[in-house]
Amino acid sequence: MMQPKRLSVKYFVQGDLPFPVEDVAPIFQEWIQQHVVEGLLIDVADYKHVKQGPGIVLIGDEGDYALDLRQGRPGLLYVRKRALPDTLEESLQLTFRLANAAAKMLERERALKELKFNFDQAEIAFLDRLEAPNTPETFEVLRESLQKFATTFFNNEAVQVESVETDPRKVFTVRIGVLQEAHS
């Protein structure tokens, strides 16, 4: 089974409100001071000057947390860089758990009072072109595992798994989530 060296999960912000990205860097600095999220936290990288970039990144050792602005869709991104478990399923569980916890922590931040994430859907990127090239074959190999993981994670039989990045140069990326009809 494919096991990438790096894996990321992104929860998107709900709604179209302009996002106060400048308020996030001080929050991440506080997270370092108070060890708010799991992992060894090192520093905050500020890329708000870059259009549709990584936004504000809380750099860690095992993983980075970011208020990510790529694709023009703000979201909480957790990138697991190191110390991934042995199996893809465990890696997904770990990465989702940490992304989920960080997104909920951000929602509780007073300075971001209107911030809400859509927890019914997430994007997974396999940051390892050697192990998981962005091809239809990779999707076919992974589809069943991802479907199974999504069913368990969302506690719902009606889940959807779709490949979202067609450019073969880019990292293999899938979106998983609860089917809209099932959710409503």
Binding site: Q29, Q33, V50
Partner: protein, 752 residues
Amino acid sequence: MTANTWKRALEGKMPTDWAEEIDTFEGQISLKKQNKLDDKVFAETRLRRGTYGQRYDNGQRDDGIQVQTLNFPSGTLLKGPETLWDAPGMQRIKVPFGGLTTAQMEVLAELADEYSDGILHVTTRQDFQLHYIHIEDTPDLMRRLAAVGITSREACGNTVRNVTACPLAGICRSEAFDVTPYADEVAKFLLGHDDTQDFGRKFKTAFSGCEHHACGLVRMHDLGFLAQVKEVDGELKRGFKVFVGGGLGTIPYQAQILREFATEDEIMPLSQATARVFARLGEKKNRNRARIKFLVESVGIEEFRRLVDEELKTLPKDERWTSYLENVPNHSETPVKPAFSLNGDPVSAEFNAWYETNVYPQRQEGYSTITVNLPLGDLTSDQMYGLVDIARKYVGDNIRTTVEQNIVLRWVSNHDLPALYQELAEIGLGESGAGTIVDITSCPGTDTCKLGIASSRGLAGELRTRLAAKNASLPEAVKNLRVKVSGCFNSCGQHHIADIGFFGNSRRSGNRKVPHFQLVLGGQWEENGGSFGMAIGAIPSKRVPDVLDMLTDRYAHERERGESFQSWITRLGKQAVRAMLEPYTALPTFEENPELFSDWGNSRVYSINDIGIGECAGEVVSLFSIEISQAESEHFEALVALDDGHFVKADESAYRSMVMAARALVRTQYPNVGQEPQRIVDEFRTRFYDTEIFFDKYAKGKFAQYFFERHENPSDTHTRESAYRVIEEARLFIEAVHECEARYTASLGLTL
């Protein structure tokens, strides 16, 4: 089924020698993990592969409240002295003359995705840097680069660094000839050459095509080649005016002329002989005096020329010196599209603004080179893929990075400019203002650099945002100014050659530190970095935007017709400029204005030395503060004397300012030291130098040596250059005294 390692996947696709070098490096990583390699040896080994340490890699970080220990999983395993194994590092990637292909750009984007944080950073020497890299990822990263013809070998360490060249070479309207093939071949020739492996410090080389533009900035390089065509024996020949011994760094040096004219077949042996002389006679122990500029200064340019000439006679002939020359006339770039002019269709106001600043009409009719203006030198991997698509459509592989941290696309058919602009704008790369006051250059500063004192990127980002908002209304004379920011005195942001430069430092208010930037005015970007600016005064970081507004407003209103910024500053005189700054320099207490005690882009309370908060909070002005301010005044007198052409007086005042600063420090321990310089020097040496209390973590005792040297060996001859140097050295010594006093009082738990 995929290959399970990059080594296997790329087998046969990398040059054999490069592949072997990377395998060796990977082996050295394994040995170091087993503690079978010395820390210093491994550090130099990885640096020679461009693999750097980053801020906090000693495992300590001040979070604004307390110093936290970063408990990395590999514990105390090191990758260099005081550099922890797991700490994120930086990978520098050399790009000779800035030349890139689209295939290389794609791989760079891949690496940013998989090993870094999705950001590619263009440096002030046409390199790329990726940050937050783990050492164990570097061999695969290097293999992937090698497979597209890029090596990071000798991107750092005491080696020949990236060979830079004017990004307009070959399409420039005023160049003598295209320097590209020469820069490319010299870079290849010197890479890994036996004669370039034993330097005491780094060695930077540059090529320029023209004398009067900024071009390749050859006057500030260790070795610089300026293209010229001259008649030799009745025949027009290509050659170069060759410069040696220039450099910015803490004290900038203008390069001197090694050869008035070296023919094209002479430049390789001349480079080799220069490298040999530097390796043999350059300083090795004291790294603060180890650049070639110090060797040239100490032996004198005439003796240096003689040494190089003697060395040339001993060199065994090497066919590589000339073998490439037969291909030089064939060097050319192929446009993707035929030349067509703009068709006169209506265009947007945004396009017009971009056209005005980002488009350079080539000497080849119907073509232009366009500048992709990168904020702070950064672009995302997605933007890089987008740029690749645009390049393939309009220009092919005719792409270069610039020392102003941008990327240029060459050979754009003028007809395509509106469409190309539109496509750049769609990927967030359509900003106008390239090469203007908005296009601010900055080194990494405290964001990632271990030496950073203040947030150069934070400041540059803030200035860029403010200036961009009012760019359209700025007067033309102001638009054309250049602003450059360094996070410390080392000048990686090239602040010495900006109209308005800044470098990071700090001051104490009460028992806290306040981030500051030293204002440097009057540098010259044109004429290949023709002259260096002078430090005028330190301004709290958060007030720098106001100071920039004040300076540019006054320049716009007070300048005489056609008067340059440098001329305006000279006409005003430093006293008047200094007086302009005074309203911005007074420091409040933390309680009065806590905003001033943090840096741009960083909400933490500013700290470098983990100063504790004492009981007597900061309104009391210490004796040290009074006396160091007197030293500052004396230093300013030196600046004024230099302006007035009184070089002896300038030298003496600069020296006196050092004595006064040393005395202020000595008196924190020994109030009765008196006024006699020798005694002050002795006491300073005994109490602060020999004990290493004065030593900064990175600069060690470097700045005290400036003081000792001037005290013990005053110069008999006084020129503008010699006085300038002593003034700059005094400035750095005074800054170091400030730092030392803060560290010292903090260590005692005192607030003075």
